[in-house]
């Protein structure tokens, strides 16, 4: 039995090795990469949405009150949101081990 084997059977591959499920990278947790985590101070937030616009990892979604909350499953802790918040409402906090 060969030690190194494939992910799935060749018979189950779509012809041409196409990936048929669009956007399925959403299953992959990139949140493991981060060292810092963004923390929002709702007092200062003016709900402008710039954090949502500038996040390269599509982490921000609006909650019921209109605040943009970061999705920690994907957040890589780059800090762009914190640096570009016009009111300084986001701070990057060291992730606990």
């Amino acid at each position: 039995m060969p030690k190194d084997q494939g992910l799935i059977s060749w018979k189950k591959l779509a012809p041409g090795m196409f990936i048929l499920e669009p956007g399925n990278s959403a299953k992959f947790k990139t949140g493991d990469w981060r060292a810092f985590r963004p923390v929002l101070d709702k007092e200062k937030c003016i709900k402008c949405g710039l954090c949502y616009v500038f996040c390269p990892d599509f982490c921000y979604t609006k909650d019921e009150e209109g605040y943009y909350i970061s999705n920690l499953y994907y957040c890589k802790g780059c800090g762009i949101c914190a640096q570009n918040c016009p009111k300084g409402a986001i701070t990057m906090v060291l992730e606990e081990a």
Partner: protein, 339 residues
């Protein structure tokens, strides 16, 4: 005014499209400034889009089997031929619509997301051919100023003096010895209806330009400045700041060329003169105020790839940057939009 742009209304932070054409969970570096314009462009273009990528960072991070971040149909063929593949797709859609095999009313956007290596160097012939043939597609060059995916080698988009692994800052020769290739000049020479530069630091402007490019019938080109913290040696949170400084130091001017007429979107360090350079397109410009010019050192000191620059090199760069900008201003005066 081009008829397609007659009803165009710009975006603002309150009316951003909600659609996302790209999924999270992609493998881009922290703070990647290249995937950001991609995200914004796909937001604007919507689900009726077919995307093409050549080999490069954006292709690698988005499609490691079995995961894909693309929510729109996407094809990757080889390194240099993204523009030709897009030509083939556009021709197929045109003829299939004519023969009634796909509904005629549906507008399908065809967009190429290519890096600077694949556009400036190996793919230049293919880009030129596709633009000359007049296919209706959008070519977005995400310019991070080197072959980043293979480990930061120089390309013809690498700026003068930058350190890359194939133009290292050594003891004798310090960094890239040639000036960044003027790709916008080459593209504009093909007489395409729309070409523009954009930067993720000005996201609304970028999205407006993508929208305009999608509305216009014919080949359109966007040269997008894409910061790469990994390759440039800047902090991951500085991506947007660096992109902003590039515009404010005149290193990467924001302008559009519509049917051969130059429109500068952000005047840096110029007092407004009597003849408005903004013309009929003025309402699409972000700020009509003049932005004060910042010296190039401010842009360089954030990036490790420029830390070896000697004062002579910086002086040379500042002079050349100012010259290029003046040239652009003159172009917009003589070949600008008339009132």
């Amino acid at each position: 005014m081009r008829p397609e742009l007659k009803d165009f209304k710009g975006f603002n932070l309150k009316n951003l499209p909600e659609y996302e054409g790209f999924a999270p969970g992609h493998r881009a570096c922290q703070g990647c400034g290249t995937v950001l314009p991609l995200k914004l462009a796909l937001k604007v273009l919507g689900p009726n889009t077919i995307a093409v990528s050549p080999t490069g960072c954006m292709e690698i991070i988005s499609s490691p089997f079995p995961y894909t971040s693309w929510k729109v149909p996407w094809i990757h063929v080889a390194f240099e031929n993204a523009a030709s593949v897009a030509s083939g797709i556009e021709a197929a859609i045109k003829v299939l619509k004519r023969k009634g095999k796909i509904p005629k009313k549906e507008k399908i956007n065809i967009v190429v997301f290519a890096g600077d290596g694949a556009t400036f160097d190996i793919g230049l012939q293919f880009l030129s051919g596709a633009l000359e043939r007049g296919h209706d597609f959008i070519y977005i060059c995400l310019d991070n100023e080197a072959y980043m995916n293979t480990g930061v080698q120089r390309s013809s988009a690498t700026p003068f003096g930058a350190h890359t692994t194939t133009s290292p800052a050594g003891k004798v020769i310090k960094g890239q010895v040639t000036w960044k290739k003027n790709l916008m000049g080459i593209v504009v020479a093909h007489n395409i209806p729309y070409a523009a530069t954009a930067s993720p630091a000005f996201p609304i402007d970028l999205m407006n330009k993508v929208k305009k490019a999608s509305l216009i019938n014919g080949p359109t080109f966007l040269h997008v400045f894409s910061p790469c913290p990994t390759g440039w040696g800047c902090k991951s949170e500085d991506s947007i700041l660096v992109a902003k400084l590039a515009v404010e130091t005149r290193i990467f001017p924001l302008y559009e060329v519509i049917d051969g007429k130059y429109v500068i979107n952000k005047l840096i360090g110029h007092t407004p003169i009597e003849k408005s350079l903004l013309g009929k397109y003025g309402k699409y410009v972000l700020e009509k105020r003049v932005t004060p010019q910042k010296p190039v050192e401010e842009y360089f000191k954030l990036q490790r790839r420029f830390r070896h620059l000697t004062p002579e090199q910086i002086k040379f760069i500042q002079k050349r940057v100012d010259e290029e900008y003046e040239k652009l201003v003159k172009l917009s005066e003589y070949f600008g939009i008339e009132e």
